[in-house]
Symmetry: C2
Subunit: 461 residues, 2 copies
């Protein structure tokens, strides 16, 4: 195919094209997969404009060459990893802030900009993009939207895409569309905007996004609550959400996660289940914090410490903030399978957490649990010795059981990481065959030659 | 076709089928159109279950018979009016509350239930479905979702569909799918849920909806502000939204609307522009009201009266609440063209309002304006003598100019009424040809024989 790909040089400048092994291999793996899950693309290209993206897709569509959009590579389910070689379309150079419109609380950005960079820019005008994943510093807005990402603050502010008003996008045929509206509401035509969101770059490539912003809250308080029993912590979270307490973050970690964080950070804390909280308000934040404390006390909280935004609050959050980095060093023989991401209706959350703990005990596996508990979103690491094939197979079986349990509870296989390669097996059991068939017909309608991110989201028919 | 349609009696019971003129003609007209816009269907059927809907659609798809979903008939753009005879699928009998799950703040309902009926049922458990259109008493949840409806409380609570978690729906081929998830967030598969929302019954028929609920706010205050100049009122609204004041409703009426309401209700108020406000909170509502008052005072408000929920608040809201009924009696010679529904980014709202007033003055037309100003949504009635063809033509030209102005301001032809028949001419100028082409390909993918609500939303190619 390499000769054929030389034609790219008539579309892009030489510094926008690379055939080097290093560039190709870097884009054959994301944070959730080992290299075997993908293959290196034949070529990496860096579009610098919508016209570049349109030209590449239009040509690739004519030539039937697979194109896999790529950005920061932080996806966890192989979402951006080529399965059929071809072109890796690296969006990192389209990282501009085009315009901030403070009067409308709106910003227009390129897809390759990191989430935190948006907040730095709009922050100068007292504005925030409220909902970003924890990886906002290292993941791009285009990737977040394509994967329908969310994060800690989703419990108050919704998903990232709940702040999306309009996109410009290039369809697999190379045609450029706008979807959505800069008006904050519209009922005009089919909702192509939310169809592109979460389609993981299989239906189109976002080249510009208009995001709604909010004013920065005047008061931010946060802290930590500790429990003797995980069930009490989960029940306290359930009651908090059900009571309508206005929490901006409500995060759970189990005792194994606590042990990992405590070991890594030397916190001096007990290895107990903990809940991390944050509150945002423009006035009277104490009332909300005290309302929450009352609920937690009814569930035998052993410590409830909340502080104003500042060093003390930062300290209280340390174990949660640094948790991801504490998992791998905990036991040098063990590392995690692809992190789990099930989400269930909030009333099922305590049972979901208990189920994962019981599986760990039953099979004697280390499965630290944590997550965006206020949304019913549970993350977990099934820890295995990757050299031990039997253990890996058993671990994968446990992961499967957890996802199947979540689906049985009216939950979802993936709350925020997307389907990619890793969750395709659950698509039909979660949505039904007819829904998957409808998704497939939409893919076929918009990408008749199947060139855009082939092999992702939809399982083989 | 009538003989062919007799086959319906093998699918449905006799009392689910009607060929009478009265039943057929009732469904050839909605609230926004005169009878000439639609044609009477050949037959009206009342499905009573998902299986009924699936059987009718499956058969109609085989036989290539047009099917137009219908519910309360309150749509304004001909959305539910047949253009090609065939079957009117009346969803009114599927009006059950299937289950309320207070632990998850969720309710499952049939599509034919009225919005206010849902709130009556869940209200017994202290819960609310917060966002409904003003027509919640007389319009069905299925129709609201199909049209992507919103209303007065959208400024705080979003659109009706922002509270939709999952639907069961029947595709044009008769296949039954579920879309969305009972988990409050998911990134699994293409977002068929929001594709069905706003598709105006052209892509599928919703047969069951799972809605998210909220706790009833403990404090509700509301009232009225009066201004000498419309520009001041619009500017005050703009500053209120930009400042992040937590308003639950913020409605504008111009002096002509005020005159109509005052004449009809004998309010004793001056014929001045007015803004109607509502605030919802669990504590400390006074702070928000006073914050708002300060902003309004900076824009020369002449009266600012707010009261706790009760008779006084009800009184303050009277002119806005009764406005729709006051328009037609105002001048017996005049009646309104299809009500306008443009929405623009909030910074353009004052200019949009001024533009409509100037057009009215320029052409000496009575054009009362009002609307959900906090969303940038402006409604207006272009008043004409329907016997005067020249005046009607001129009025339609004015309506067109208003919509084109909104689109030029990055706004939308329709904020909440949908496209139906009446707004198809603007689809391409608002979204671009490529986006309309993409919509058309999705319609073709899901409805290959074009049987479901044909002629709606998408203009002829």
């Amino acid at each position: 195919m390499s000769n054929e790909l030389q034609a790219l040089s008539s579309i892009l400048d030489p510094d926008q094209i690379s055939f080097t092994d290093a560039d190709r291999h870097e884009r054959s793996v994301d944070w959730g997969t080992s290299e075997e899950n993908g293959v290196p693309p034949d070529v990496v290209v860096w579009p610098e404009s919508t016209a570049d993206v349109a030209a590449v897709l239009s040509w690739a569509n004519e030539e039937r060459i697979p194109v896999t959009p790529y950005a920061a590579g932080t996806s966890l389910e192989g979402n951006a990893v080529p399965l059929e070689k071809g072109i890796s379309l690296d969006m990192n150079r389209m990282d501009e802030i085009y315009e901030i419109r403070p009067d409308n609380l709106q910003v227009d950005v390129g897809p390759g900009i990191y989430g935190d960079e948006i907040n730095e820019a709009v922050g100068k005008q007292g504005l925030i993009l409220p909902s970003l994943p924890s990886s906002g510093k290292i993941s791009t807005i285009g990737g977040m939207l394509a994967n329908d990402a969310s994060g800690m603050k989703t419990v108050k502010y919704g998903e990232v895409a709940d702040w999306l008003l309009e996109v410009e996008a290039v369809l697999p045929t190379g045609k450029v569309i706008t979807a959505g509206s800069k008006a904050t509401k519209t009922s005009s035509g089919y909702n192509l905007l939310d169809l592109l969101v979460g389609s993981e770059g299989t239906l189109g490539v976002i080249t510009r996004a208009t995001l709604q912003l909010a004013g920065r809250p005047e008061q931010v308080w946060g802290g930590r609550a500790t429990f003797s029993a995980l069930g009490d912590a989960a029940d306290a979270i359930f009651d908090t959400i059900r009571s309508g307490v206005d929490v901006a973050k409500i995060e759970l970690i189990d005792s194994i996660s606590a042990e990992m964080a405590n070991a890594s950070l030397d916190t001096g804390l007990s290895n107990s289940p903990m809940v991390f909280l944050e509150f945002h308000a423009n006035h009277n934040i104490e009332a909300e914090v005290e309302f929450c404390r009352t609920i937690f006390e009814a569930h035998d909280v052993t410590e409830f410490a909340v502080a104003e935004s500042g060093p003390e609050m930062t300290d209280l959050w340390e174990a949660r903030r640094e948790l991801a980095d504490a998992v791998d060093p905990f036991d040098p023989d063990l590392s995690s399978l692809t992190p789990g991401d099930v989400t269930v209706p909030i009333s099922e959350y305590p049972e979901m957490v208990r189920y994962v703990k019981e599986l760990g005990e039953e099979y004697d596996f280390l499965i630290p649990c944590f997550g965006h508990a206020g949304d019913g979103n549970l993350h977990y690491f099934v820890m295995v010795d990757v050299e031990d094939q039997e253990m890996v197979a058993k671990g994968e079986q446990i992961s499967k059981q957890i996802v199947e349990k979540a689906i049985k509870m009216n939950g979802t296989a993936t709350g925020e990481h997307g389907v990619g390669i890793g969750k395709q097996d659950y698509l039909a059991s979660e949505h039904g065959d007819a829904a998957v068939e409808a998704m497939r017909s939409i893919k076929k309608a918009l990408d008749p030659n199947g060139i855009l991110n082939p092999g992702k989201v939809l399982p083989e028919p």
